[in-house]
């Protein structure tokens, strides 16, 4: 090959350079995504879908609704209990977190600064640690009852019982309200001071600033926070298992563990799992939709 031909070839190569790369750049995203997608498909989606399938397989191995019948007979009350405690906890956490976020957004001073740093503490603790913490703090002979007795609020011989929905709600709000503050405060801080000043100048008081400015302008952010907290409560296992595991009523997650550990009954356990999917379904679909849009168009 002459030098001339060589250089011509090189030139042509550089001209078609884009074209040579096109098959690679077309395939590259799929190559890069392949391991992660395969891992999620096999280790998440397949077992997720098989929980639906297995919930319809009875003990005798035939397709039936027997597991659902049994679930409704045995655990009807626990399903309602889970929904009730979840709703209550989410509601309390939402109200507290909005109030705290409003305080941190609008107040200044050393107390605000300290609160603004300290409130994050519970976010980082795993539920298993929170479970142990609440087991000792809220115990009949724990620090909280001792404190109430010292204040003269309760009789020391007759301490309050917290190993039920109250303790569950307390521990859950303790962990999740700070997380909600973190998200909601982020949204509040995006609102320019001028909006708040404008509302003040036309005579808006604090409640109006909250309900007419701060909350409406952060509706999506707040809803996402509510969704994440609601769904994480329904799916939370370690905390209710360690706090009220041996009692009744318990949450669905505890029932699932009992069904598996004591009876090896995967049909009913999966039917319970499907119930927990149904409880979160509306909020979960909202979350998927809004986060997918954000991921696609941002």
């Amino acid at each position: 090959m002459s030098d001339n031909a060589k250089s011509e070839l090189a030139l042509r190569k550089s001209e078609v350079g884009v074209g040579v790369e096109r098959p690679l750049s077309y395939n590259l995203p799929f190559l890069l995504l392949f391991p992660a997608v395969m891992a999620i498909l096999s280790l998440y989606l397949y077992p997720f879908l098989s929980s639906f399938w297995k919930s319809f397989i009875s003990k005798e191995g035939i397709l039936s609704l027997a597991n659902y019948e049994k679930t409704l007979n045995l655990y009807r009350y626990d399903v309602l209990f889970t929904m009730g405690v979840t709703l209550l906890s989410t509601l309390i956490a939402t109200v507290l977190s909005i109030l705290l976020a409003v305080y941190l957004r609008l107040s200044k001073g050393w107390i605000t600064n300290i609160v603004g740093i300290l409130y994050r503490l519970p976010i980082f603790l795993p539920f298993v640690v929170i479970a142990q913490m609440m087991r000792s703090f809220l115990a009949p002979h724990g620090i909280f009852n001792l404190f109430l007795a010292k204040l003269g609020l309760i009789n020391i011989e007759n301490p309050l019982q917290f190993f039920n929905w109250t303790g569950l709600t307390f521990g859950f709000v303790w962990k999740e309200a700070p997380f909600m503050v973190l998200i909601i405060l982020g949204g509040f801080q995006m609102i320019d001071d001028s909006y708040i000043e404008a509302a003040r100048s036309v005579g808006a008081k604090l409640p109006q600033i909250i309900t007419k400015v701060l909350i409406p302008m952060n509706k999506t952010t707040i809803l996402i926070a509510v969704t994440l907290v609601f769904c994480s409560f329904v799916g939370c296992f370690s905390f209710p298992y360690m706090l009220i595991g041996g009692k009744t009523p318990v949450t669905i997650t505890v029932d699932i563990a009992h069904r598996v550990n004591y009876f090896g009954d995967y049909g009913v356990a999966n039917a319970l799992g499907v119930f927990s999917y149904i409880i979160v379904s509306f909020l979960a679909l909202y979350y998927l939709r809004s986060m997918m849009r954000k991921g696609l168009y941002d």
Binding site: L28, L32, V37, L121, V129, M134, F137, S238, A257, M292
Partner: protein
Amino acid sequence: MQKSVFKKTIEIIIFIIFIFFLFAPLLSLGIWSVALRWYWPHTFPQEIGFDYWFQALGITKSLTLGAVNVVPAFWLSLGIAIVVVIITMAIAIPAGYALAKLRIPTFLKGLILILFLMPRAFPQQPVFLNLMLMFNKIGLTGTVLGVIFVHLVVGLVYAVWITASTFRSIPPELEEAARSVGASRLKAFFKVTLPLSAPGLIASAVFVFLTSMDEFTGTFFVGLPFVTTLPMTLYSASGSNIQFASVIAILLLIPSILFMVLIQKFLKAEHIGGMGG
């Protein structure tokens, strides 16, 4: 003037209540971990000391009910977490890069995004239960490898999201500039994009590390009774010995707080909440 004094008083009262409810549960753990004898209704333990700490850390031997030496569990948790971080990041960095920087058909991208959002939206326990049934067939239940797979799927979802949002924050012009002066795509990635996104990627790795260290539900189904990680020892001590349980709980919360304080400014708020289901 009167009004502002009133306001300040209210603020201080609420502040004290806030501090009490924030720290009293933590204090309860701390006191119990050093309480040798504490009879109700005494305000403070009659006898305090670090005996349970020494026993839990394997420095002194103990025959107490529920006593466990947590050192092997700690090394096991640490080993699993390190392996999980390496595998997860090796899978998540390419995937996050592709989602952030490369052109993917909208429909497909939507499906992939949903796939990576689902574990956050739906309860995971039924998934772990069926993963256990799956692993039963191939002999992975009760093995360290099985537990690594479980932690992998828990951490991967966050890792992909965090790496994707990190890569998205790097202006594409920088990589384009490198390529216009002759760098290959691979070279541009390693010389430009990777160094710039290092803080976000490290934050993501630390996050995966902590989710593995703290993981409970998946290990409960797939690992027990043969693979006892640190959270599993806490679970088994919790029912029988409050002092040991308190010591382990403190051992677990120290790294969580330490690391998260270091990396939280690199993380988006919505990711931080995913700790230790």
